[in-house]
Assembly symmetry: C2
Homo-oligomer: 334 residues x 2
């Protein structure tokens, strides 16, 4: 079925309110999950919402816990999020980074002890919507072998970079460091398809495009082989040091993927004397799009365009949701 | 033949002095090229030195031009490098970023109008040698098709991240965004080898590991396919905006690869209250190394270890240089 954005957000809000969130937090949390669904990222939107509510109901997330500012230095703040509601804390941290950037040029909030932030692009886009450049990344549990290893010791740590644009879709890079997510492997396996490019190793250490073999071996491939492996370690080191939060290794010692470390950076172009941002960004993005389209491709798009298109379509037609998922969500209403 | 580090540096210094560089600049320039050779990156060290001198002799680089500070804002400086001596300007910019970071916690210098910086790791390592975290990147001419394109509109922009370590090799990620460099393609072709993994497309748009087919099509593959393509665009947007320098597109409009944009970031961990940096970094890196080694690999190493090993070996045994290259270099002495 198709659910209209406003209706979906209303249902999410009602459910979050019933779980004890404040009016402000329920509205913000509902907006994040509905927005993620609107732009087509159902895995971190409507499809994930039931699991999040179950987790709250089991006491796995204390929705009333508040982030604590444990260190400040100039435009930098370090927060301890006490394993509260991940997306809510991440959004509040980027709000704060943007607020700082409007005065100090740049604002940085490093979050330790948070939970999964769902779609990382949410927070980078908050900055670009406010006219700022947004950069954020998170670590994860160890879910990918480093280059040359059999067993997972690095994270598929997502990295997001958003650059504002007055006309046209904003630039939004939102990428995890694994070539494919486990979600993608599952979808392709269920559809009986192989991956377009090798996504990991089988149990004998051969690169493979068969999703089921990778699900079995748990040997996901980092993007760019040794390069993504190194970038993943770099992102973990930086976020762990700045947040004084848990590293990928330390998250792996817990019973499940909790207590993640994240960082939110907002940069106000005006404060840096950049007065031609829009024309410079457009010049680069239009140049990229001006190339000759390669064999087997329909068009050349830059990161963020596909998301903007999905958002527009779903705004017009409603968001496609599997009936059982929506029924399950409605059952959470008290 | 093998040349000792000090001898190589001395010859470089003598030649640079003879080309009109100040005593300070000749010593710093010689150190950069000798250090790059010492750690095994000959392509940006001794093997590149003759081309650089030829370029200076032809007037392509004005070695006496000084970088100009055109904008400052808090711990941020923007420099116009007037197309001077790339590695020298890059080193001075990172020196300045480190100096700022020791007071302000973070220091950022964005360079427009510079020339090729040679080995990017040089500058990130300057920060880690000073106990700071170093991050830097550069753009390039358009030398790689974006994802879905036939012709090059993005750069293989190098990104470097260094994290200091008291014992053991410092962490140093130094990666260009293309899966392989053209230098690597040439070496593998001359050795009659194919690439270990696909490195680009042939002229019909098929992924290939044959270096000669990629050299012919000029269709290098970005690391991680669409992911590296997006990351390359992000790095170009950020460095171009912050430096107000030329974008990949604009560099492509010049007759050769000049006028590059670069950024140097240094971050002093002490100012951010990070008092357990060493144990945290070691914990993560030792964890990565503790994994089971995969089939076909001898060991698991983290970015920076190979460099440190090459440096130690070459310190002991001298740097292996092709006779003709060294003869050519000696011929530059007046």
């Amino acid at each position: 079925m198709r659910i209209r954005y406003e209706d979906m957000k209303g249902v999410f809000e009602e459910i979050l309110l019933s779980r004890g969130l404040s009016a402000h937090d329920a509205a913000l949390g509902a907006k994040i999950f509905a927005d993620n669904s609107l732009c087509g990222v159902l895995s971190h939107g409507v499809n994930r919402f039931p699991r999040v509510i179950e987790y709250i109901d089991k006491g796995g997330i204390d929705v009333k816990s508040e982030c604590e500012v444990v260190f400040t230095f100039g435009p930098f703040e370090r927060w301890n999020c006490h394993r509260g509601f991940g997306p809510l804390n991440a959004a509040k941290a980027m709000e704060r980074a943007i607020e700082i950037s409007k005065k100090a040029g740049v604002g940085v909030v490093a979050l330790g002890n948070n939970n999964h932030w769902m779609r990382g692009g949410t927070y980078a886009e908050m900055a670009s919507s406010a006219g700022s450049i947004g950069i954020c990344w998170s670590n994860t549990m160890p879910n990918m072998p480093s280059w040359g290893a059999r067993n997972p010791t690095i994270g598929n740590n997502p990295l997001c970079i958003a650059v504002p644009r007055k006309s046209g879709a904003p630039f939004l890079l939102d990428m995890a460091i694994s070539q494919y997510s486990y979600g993608k492997l599952e979808r392709e396996r269920l559809a009986g398809r192989t991956l377009p490019y090798p996504g990991g190793f089988d149990e004998e250490g051969n690169l493979t495009s068969d999703p089921s073999l990778i699900e079995k071996s748990r040997r996901l491939l980092p993007m760019g082989y040794w390069k993504g492996s190194g970038l993943s370690i770099a992102l973990d080191l930086l976020v762990t040091l700045l947040s004084e939060g848990l590293s990928v290794k330390e998250i792996g010692e817990l019973e499940t993927e909790i207590g993640l470390s994240q960082i939110m950076i907002a940069l106000d172009p005006e404060k840096f004397g950049i007065d031609d941002l829009d024309s410079r960004v457009s010049s680069t993005l239009e140049y990229v799009k001006s190339a000759t389209v390669a064999e087997g491709f329909k068009e050349i798009s830059y990161p963020g365009e596909g998301l903007a298109r999905a958002r527009k379509e779903n705004e017009e037609n409603g968001i496609e949701v599997v009936d059982e998922v929506w029924d399950r969500i409605l059952s959470f209403r008290c």
